[in-house]
């Protein structure tokens, strides 16, 4: 079986669900003949026709809003935003309608929509093309929020997202769209949307990260291992609802925790992780959870973006600080 990249796994999942379910409609800007600017929909229009793989006029509020009406009529819209930086005009429909239709109508109408967007920095793109504002969506009740970090997880989670009866924000870490190849059987097997994945086991510290930041996090874990520190690396993958149990289970062993994300720190998702660890595992902690994150400033133009993104050194340093602190506490 051929090995495929994360973005190809997205295509494979889309194709699988389009084949299986005639209600699935893929649309967005340039998703048709062009196959999407990242080629995530490559070949789909040719295969499934222009009635189901549709280029829209350039209007993100529209892209979000029509999904609500389509879904209310029983379709399964999968809408692509070209970059996460252009999703903000869509927020009103996502927050005020898609996430609320089921509740507003007491179950009469619902919104099984997937809103997809490539996200994150690090590809030397122009301004607005490097956003990671997942925390905005995490705060909205009624949504699911998913970020895959490998081809296999992209495939299984996207299948789950399309089949899910409620709206899902599906953010694709474009920095690792083509970073890794993996065999991903086109099995139609979905992954659960409420379970974290333990990507690496270790008993000394728990590292939590998602999306492209897992690359540096796993590298940091390697480096630490070389120094005798065994890090357990957890990918929540589904950021909302968040599987905190897997984190707590890990803390039973490690008592130490660092959470890593590209997004700005203030009110980022890392804060929620810290808050829940605090609530559910206070006694387990031997040191304050550290956040290694993007800075609380605008993601800079690309010459400085590497300075902004949390790198291996920052993660390793944080881990050592946490461990030192914990040692002071008799770890």
């Amino acid at each position: 079986m051929a090995e495929i990249t994360l973005v190809q796994a997205v295509t494979q999942a889309l194709a699988h669900e389009m084949q299986a379910d005639p209600r699935v409609i893929v649309y967005g800007e340039d998703v048709g003949i062009n196959g999407g600017v990242f080629r995530a929909t490559e070949g789909l229009q040719e295969r499934f026709g222009g009635a189901r793989v549709i280029d829209t006029p350039l209007a993100e509020t529209m892209i979000a809003g029509i999904a609500v009406g389509m879904a209310a009529q029983g379709l399964r819209p999968v809408a692509e935003f070209q970059f996460m930086g252009f999703i903000y005009p869509a927020l009103d429909h996502i927050l005020s309608h898609a996430s609320r239709f089921r509740n507003r109508t007491r179950g009469r109408l619902s919104c099984p929509i997937v809103y997809r967007a490539p996200y994150g920095g690090g590809i030397h793109a122009p301004e607005h093309h490097s956003e990671s504002t997942e925390a905005l969506f995490a705060h909205i009740p009624g949504l699911r929020l998913v970020v895959p970090s490998s081809p296999a997880r992209a495939y299984g989670l996207l299948l789950a997202a399309i089949r899910d009866p409620d709206p899902v924000i599906f953010l694709e870490p474009k920095r690792i769209y083509r970073a890794v190849r993996q065999e991903v059987p086109d099995s139609g097997q979905a992954l659960p949307l409420d379970r974290a994945f333990v990507l690496r086991e270790g008993g000394d510290i728990t590292l939590i990260a998602w999306g492209a930041a897992l690359k540096e996090t796993l590298e940091a874990a390697e480096q630490l291992a070389a120094e005798g520190i065994q890090a357990e690396v957890i990918d929540p993958a589904t950021l909302k609802p968040l599987d905190i149990h897997t984190v707590i289970d890990s803390l039973e062993k490690t008592h130490c925790c660092v959470v890593v994300h590209e997004a700005a720190r203030f009110c980022g998702l890392g804060a929620e992780v810290v808050a829940q660890v605090n609530e559910y595992a206070f006694d387990l902690l031997k040191a304050p959870v550290q956040r290694v994150t993007g800075y609380d400033t605008v993601m800079p133009y690309y010459q400085l973006e590497d300075k902004y993104l949390p790198g291996v050194t920052r993660i390793v340093t944080a881990v050592k600080e946490v461990r030192d602190y914990a040692k002071g506490r008799g770890l």
Partner: protein, 363 residues
């Protein structure tokens, strides 16, 4: 000075439609649907609309209902739109739509429940596929475009019958990007969508003249390359005719239309508003002379289709209908607190179970 010479490229005309003038006299031959029975039925529904609205305002004043947006003076629009749609079509309402909702089979107690702070009102027992009332202005027009896409797709690819989406909005809605993005898409994709604008001359305190420099709202259709028409929104026959024609066009694959129904808001914006702060008494008095109910009644009278006896009988019947709705509304027990989680997701994720249980335990 240099005078450039231009090449003509395109021309556009906007027209208006009316059957009954302000004095209730016909201005042209009535359409075929305008049988005595139909007109009496419209009169009945307009009267009921006014009563449902009136009672709502009273209930708000006595603390039995929350903020309520009356449609006083705009009854012909709602009833005309509702009458022009097929039962299988899908309505995507604005919030000021009592007449149309009643036509669509939404129950009086459901309308009251919505404004009485209870989501269960949006779970229309009939009109199962109609969208819920929507407060964020113009958003429902985009939802309507989505519905229209689905109807067209299911008709073409899933063997479903040809159906049409009708979305409504106010004059204020025509300033929002959502409105334009929706009609532009509908035009490009030839969606079976009819957009009806209730131009009641006000968006809260902002008069129509300050909403846009356009002479008509109908001409905004030109920006989407779709037909635009203005109708006398106080003339239920004109409204029904225009909407029916647009619905027919849409159903037959002819694409979307925009209809501006010109009316007047004879009431405060909502019960939370005081229109006397910004509206002159004269303007209001003048507008009353064009209102839709008396106009239709005058016509029915003069055509020998109506009289005081029938009016009395109607009032009796509708009072009963209304009282039943009020009773049903008032007698509905409050929902359980946990209801706020029951329909958040199809199945509540484990992560929120703790909160659900907290609520179950009394918060």
């Amino acid at each position: 000075m240099h005078k450039p010479r231009m090449q003509p490229l395109a021309s556009f005309d906007i027209a208006s439609l009316q059957y009954l003038d302000e004095r209730g006299q016909t201005t042209q031959t009535l359409p075929d649907f305008a049988t005595p029975d139909a007109l009496v039925a419209h009169y009945r529904q307009m009267t009921l609309t006014r009563m449902v609205d009136g009672r709502a305002v009273k209930m708000q004043r006595t603390g039995q209902l929350g903020t309520y947006p009356s449609s006083l003076g705009q009854e012909a629009i709602g009833v005309g739109v509702g009458a022009a749609m097929g039962g299988e079509d899908v309505y995507c309402p604005n919030y000021r739509e009592t007449g149309a909702l009643l036509e669509r089979g939404v129950a009086i107690e459901e309308i009251y429940a919505i404004w009485g702070g209870d989501e269960r009102g949006q779970n229309f027992r009939h009109a199962r596929e109609d969208l819920p009332l929507s407060v964020p202005i113009a958003t429902q027009i985009l939802h309507g475009a989505g519905v229209a896409f689905a109807l067209k797709y299911k008709n073409a690819h899933l063997n479903e019958p040809a159906r049409v989406a009708v979305a409504s909005g106010g004059d204020g809605a025509t300033s929002r990007g959502d409105f334009y993005e929706a009609i532009n898409l509908a035009g490009e994709w030839k969606l079976p969508l009819v957009v009806v604008i209730n131009n009641n001359q006000w968006a809260i305190s902002l008069p129509r003249s300050e909403q846009t420099a356009c002479k008509t709202l109908a001409q905004k259709a030109i920006a989407a390359g779709i037909p635009g028409l203005q109708v006398d929104g106080n003339d239920v026959i004109a409204v029904r005719q225009a909407v029916a024609e647009a619905v027919g066009l849409a159903r037959n694959g002819g694409g979307p239309s925009l209809i501006e129904a010109v009316s007047y808001r004879l009431c405060d914006h909502t019960t939370a508003d005081d229109a006397s702060r910004y509206q002159s008494k004269e303007t209001l008095r003048d507008a009353w002379s064009r209102e839709p109910l008396v106009r239709l009644r005058t016509y029915l009278d003069s055509a020998g289709l109506w009289g005081d006896n029938q009016e009395e009988e109607l009032q009796r019947e509708l009072t009963q209908t209304l009282e039943k709705g009020v009773r049903n509304y008032k007698e509905t027990p409050k929902d359980a607190a946990t209801a706020m989680f029951d329909h958040l997701y199809a199945a509540l994720p484990e992560a929120f179970l703790e909160q659900y249980q907290q609520l179950q335990g009394g918060g």
